[in-house]
C-alpha cells in the first residue's frame, strides 16, 4: 500500500498531524519558476524515505557519506499544503488548504512511493506551468523534515526543516528582487502600495494581485525566520526574460543574506544540462572507480558555468565562498533526452522501457548544498554563542 496520506480541511479547522519542534532549524529554498524547487524537495524526500543513490562529482574524499537522514519513525518527510482561494471575489479571501503528507513510516513497497514522488506535473493534476503561479488562485507551501548530524554523536542530531513556497517561483523572484517589499518582522505584511514596485502590478486582475500579496507575505514571514537560504539557479534558460528574472533574484538574495548575515548556499540545479558536467556524470555511472577532477569553481567563475557572469566573483568572501558554498547538482540525471537515467541493482544503466522503469534514478550532489547549509548554520550558532 502506498504510504501517502492526503487530507483536506478548511483553514480554521482541523489540526496538523505533525508540528515541528520549537528548536527546528529552518532553511528556505528559493528559485525562479521552473528552477527545480519541486524536484529538489521530492527527490530529497525520496532519498530520506528510500535511500536513493547519490553520486558526488567530483567524488568526496570521505566515502560520500553525509550526516543527513530522515526520521521516518517519528516524523513525515514531506508535507505539501496547497492554498487555494475558493472564491477569488470573496473579500475575506476564504482560503481552503489541502495538505499531503508523504512517508511517515517505512514503506512496504518503496517503488510505489517513488512513483508518487516523481510523478510529473500532469500526473499531479497540475495542468500548466505558465503563467505563474501555476494557477492564479493557488500556491503550495512545502516542508521537508530531516535530521542533521550523527544521531549517536556528542550533541545528537538536530531536527531540520527545508521550506519553500512552491508553484510560486514568480512570487519568490519578485520578493527578493525588489527590496522595497521586504518584511522586517515575522508578523509584517506586504502592502498593496509596496507591491507597485513589481512591474505592471496595477494592471493585473484583482484576485491575482491579492493572491500575490498573500504569497509575498507568507514568503516574507517565513524567510524572516529562516536560518539559512539555499538559492537554486537553473542554467541555460532559453528566455531572456527568465534569465533576467534569475539574475535579479540572485542579486536580491545576495543583498538579503548580506544585510541579515544569513548563511547562503547556491545550488546550480539541472546541472546535467551542462554538457561538460554531464560527461563527468556519465563516466561516473559507467565506471564506479572513476575519480572526477572536474574543477567546479573554475567552471562557474571563469567559464560562466552558472550564467552569472561576474556576480559570483563579486560575492566571493562577502557571505559565500565560491569554493565551498556553490554546487552543481542534478536531482534526476537525464539521458539527455528528458528521460531519467536509471541504474539497476548491478550499477549498470537500466534500459528505458518507456513504461515503469525498474531501478532507481541517480542524483548528483543533491544532498551537498543541504548539508553545507546545515553546517553553516551550526557554525554561525557556535560563533554567536561564543
Amino acid at each position: 500500500m502506498p504510504e501517502v496520506k492526503v487530507t483536506t480541511r478548511r483553514r480554521s479547522t482541523g489540526k496538523r498531524e505533525t508540528k515541528p519542534s520549537a528548536d527546528t532549524t529552518r532553511i528556505a529554498v528559493v528559485g525562479i519558476p521552473a528552477s527545480g524547487k519541486t524536484t529538489y524537495f521530492r527527490f530529497l524526500s525520496g532519498h530520506f524515505g528510500l535511500n536513493l543513490p547519490i553520486l558526488y562529482i567530483p567524488s568526496r574524499a570521505e566515502n560520500g557519506s553525509l550526516p543527513l537522514f530522515g526520521d521516518l519513525e517519528n516524523d513525515v518527510a514531506l508535507e505539501e499544503t496547497t492554498y487555494e482561494t475558493t472564491d477569488p471575489t470573496d473579500p475575506e479571501g476564504s482560503l481552503e488548504t489541502t495538505t499531503r503528507y508523504y512517508v511517515n513510516r517505512p514503506m512496504e513497497d518503496r517503488r510505489k512511493l517513488w512513483v508518487e514522488l516523481s510523478a510529473g506535473r500532469d500526473e499531479q493534476g497540475i495542468l500548466t506551468k505558465y503563467p505563474l503561479p501555476t494557477k492564479f488562485n493557488q500556491f503550495v507551501e512545502m516542508k521537508m523534515r530531516f535530521r542533521y548530524a550523527a544521531p549517536e554523536g556528542e550533541a545528537g542530531s538536530r531536527p531540520m526543516e527545508l521550506q519553500t513556497v512552491d508553484e510560486a517561483g514568480g512570487i519568490i523572484a519578485d520578493y527578493f528582487t525588489y527590496d522595497r517589499i521586504w518584511l522586517d518582522t515575522p508578523e509584517g505584511e506586504v502592502t498593496e502600495k509596496t507591491c507597485r514596485v513589481i512591474p505592471h502590478f496595477d494592471s493585473w486582475r484583482p484576485d491575482r494581485r491579492d493572491l500575490w500579496k498573500r504569497g509575498l507575505t507568507l514568503l516574507g514571514r517565513f524567510v524572516c525566520g529562516a536560518d539559512a537560504i539555499i538559492l537554486l539557479l537553473s542554467p541555460g534558460l532559453p528566455s531572456l526574460r527568465d534569465q533576467a528574472q534569475q539574475v535579479n533574484l540572485a542579486r536580491g538574495v545576495f543583498r538579503y543574506t548580506r544585510t541579515r548575515d544569513l548563511p547562503l548556499v547556491i545550488a546550480v540545479s539541472k546541472a546535467d544540462k551542462l554538457k561538460e558536467f554531464y560527461g563527468e556524470v556519465e563516466q561516473s555511472v559507467r565506471e564506479r572507480t572513476y575519480r572526477s577532477t572536474f574543477d567546479t569553481t573554475d567552471f562557474l567563475l571563469r567559464r560562466d558555468g552558472a550564467g552569472m557572469g561576474t556576480i559570483l566573483v563579486a560575492q566571493e568572501g562577502r557571505g559565500i565562498s565560491t569554493k565551498e558554498d556553490v554546487f552543481l547538482i542534478s536531482s534526476a540525471v537525464s539521458t539527455g533526452e528528458g528521460h531519467p537515467l536509471f541504474i539497476g541493482e548491478t550499477g549498470e544503466e537500466a534500459p528505458n522501457s518507456g513504461t515503469v522503469t525498474m531501478g532507481v534514478p541517480v542524483m548528483v550532489n543533491t544532498t551537498l548544498p543541504l548539508a553545507r547549509a546545515c553546517e553553516r548554520i551550526l557554525e554561525r550558532r557556535a560563533t554567536k554563542g561564543a
Partner: protein
Amino acid sequence: MENDGEESASPPTRERNVLLLDLSKSMFAPLPDPETGGPEHQKIEVARTAVFRILQDAATSGHLFGLVTFTETVRVPVPLGDIHRENLPYIENLISLLTPSGRSAIWDAIGVGADLLRMGTQGVQGNLVLVTDGWDNASSRFDVRSDPAAKVPNGRVDLVPYVLPAHSRLTVRIIGIGSGDERDKGVDTGRMNQFVTQMAQRAQELGLPPAFSFQLVTTGSQLFAQMVNAFVDVGYEDDRPIEELHPEELARHAANAARALKEPQQHATVARIRDAQSLTKGGDSPSYAEAPEMEVDFLATGPGGPPAYLKERYGPLGEVVAAYLSGQLDHALELIQRTQGFLPAVTRLYWEARIQYARRAVVEAARALLQAWAEAEKLPPATQAPILRRLAVLQARMQNDKETETLVRFIDDTEHHLVHGDPKVRERLMDLFAKLMELRGTYQLTRLAGEGDLQDAAIKHEAAVEEVFSLLQDARLDLASQGPTVEGALDFIEICLAEMR
C-alpha cells in the same frame, strides 16, 4: 474676449505672445529667392510658417498664445490662452485656410493685439510680433504721429501711448516682408521706423526697458532663416513603436542594447551619446552659447503618410522632408543643397547624409554625417543631446550596428514620447538611462582587470548596478500607472541591468 486668467496685480508668470498677421491681398505676391536659386514662395506661405512655428513653440513650452489677423478688418481667430496639444490640428487647419484679401489696418491690429495683452494696472504685458508686407491704408481707430511734434488726425487714438501705458512690460518685433522703397512693393519702412522710435522714446519717459525692433526681410531665405532654427527628423520605415513590443521582444531589444554597453570597442558611437547625456546634466553654471536655442523635433510618420503641414511648419526644411518621405530622393537632395546659408548647418548636413544614405551613396553619406557630428559639437548641451542621438541612430544604421541603434532608439523614443508629459517624469527616466550608460565604465573594468583586481572591479560594478536598481525601484513606486512608455522604459532598464553581469 478670453484672457489667461492672470489679470491680477502681480506680473504674469507665463510668457504671453500675440502674433499679428497681415492678410492683405499683397501677401499673395511672390517673395524672390535669388540667394539659393530656389523656387519663389508667396509671402503668405512664409507668413504661415511663422504662425506654425510660434504655435508649435507655445504648445510645447506652455506659453500663452493669441493670433490676430488683419486686412481692413481686424479679427482674433485665436484668443490669448493656452494652446493645448490636442487642439493644435484644428488651429493649424484654420491657419492653412487663411486667405489674403483687401487692404491693411496695421495700427488697428496693433491696438487689438495690445488689448489682448493688457492686464489692468499692470499695463500691457507680453510680446507682440507683427508680420506685414504693407502700408497702413485701412486703420480707422489708431494712428501713429508722423513726427513727435505732430498730432494724430481727429477721431483717431495715438497708438504709442495706448500700446505702452505705465508699468507695461512689452516687446514688439516687426518683421517687414519685401522692400518698401516703392509703395505696394513692400513694407512701409519709414512709418515702421517712426513707430519703433516713438515706442522707444515713450519707454524711456516711463522708465521701461526698450524692447522694440523692426527687421526687414527681402527674400524667402532670410525669412525662413529667422523662423526655422530647427533640427527635424523622422523615423525609419522599419521602426516599431516601443508600446507595440511584446515583452519577450522588449527583452531581446534590451539584451541587444546591453551588448552595446558591454562591448565599447565594437560600439564606439555610444560613447558620444553618454557624453551628451552627462552634459545635459550641467555643471554649477549653465554654459553660454551665442546661437539661439534650436528647436529639435521628431515627427511621427505613419500609414497616413507624412505629417500634416510639413512645408507650412518647417518651410524649406519641410519641403526636403516631404520629398524624402515621398521617395523623391534626388529632388530632396537638390532642395537640401539649396538651404545652405539659412538652415542650421547640423540640420542641413544630417539631412544630406540621410538622403545620400537612402540613395545608397555611402561615401557621400558618411562624409556629410562626419561634418554633422562636428557641427553638433558646437551646439549648446540642451539641444545637443537629442541631436547627437539622431546622428547616432543614422551612424549605427550605416554601420549595421543593431545594438547601438536599439539602445539609442529606445532612449530617444522614450524621450520623444514623454516630451509633452510631465517634465519631471521625463527627467527622471533620462537620468536612469544616463546612469545605465555609466555602467559601461564599471563593466569594462571587470573585463580588463587582471586576476588579482577582478574581484575589486566586480564588487564596484555590482555596487553600481545595485545603486541604479535602487533608483529603478523608487521610480517604479513613484511612477506607477504612468502609462506604457514609462513602464516599457523601466522594463528595458531592468533587463539591461540584468544583462550587465
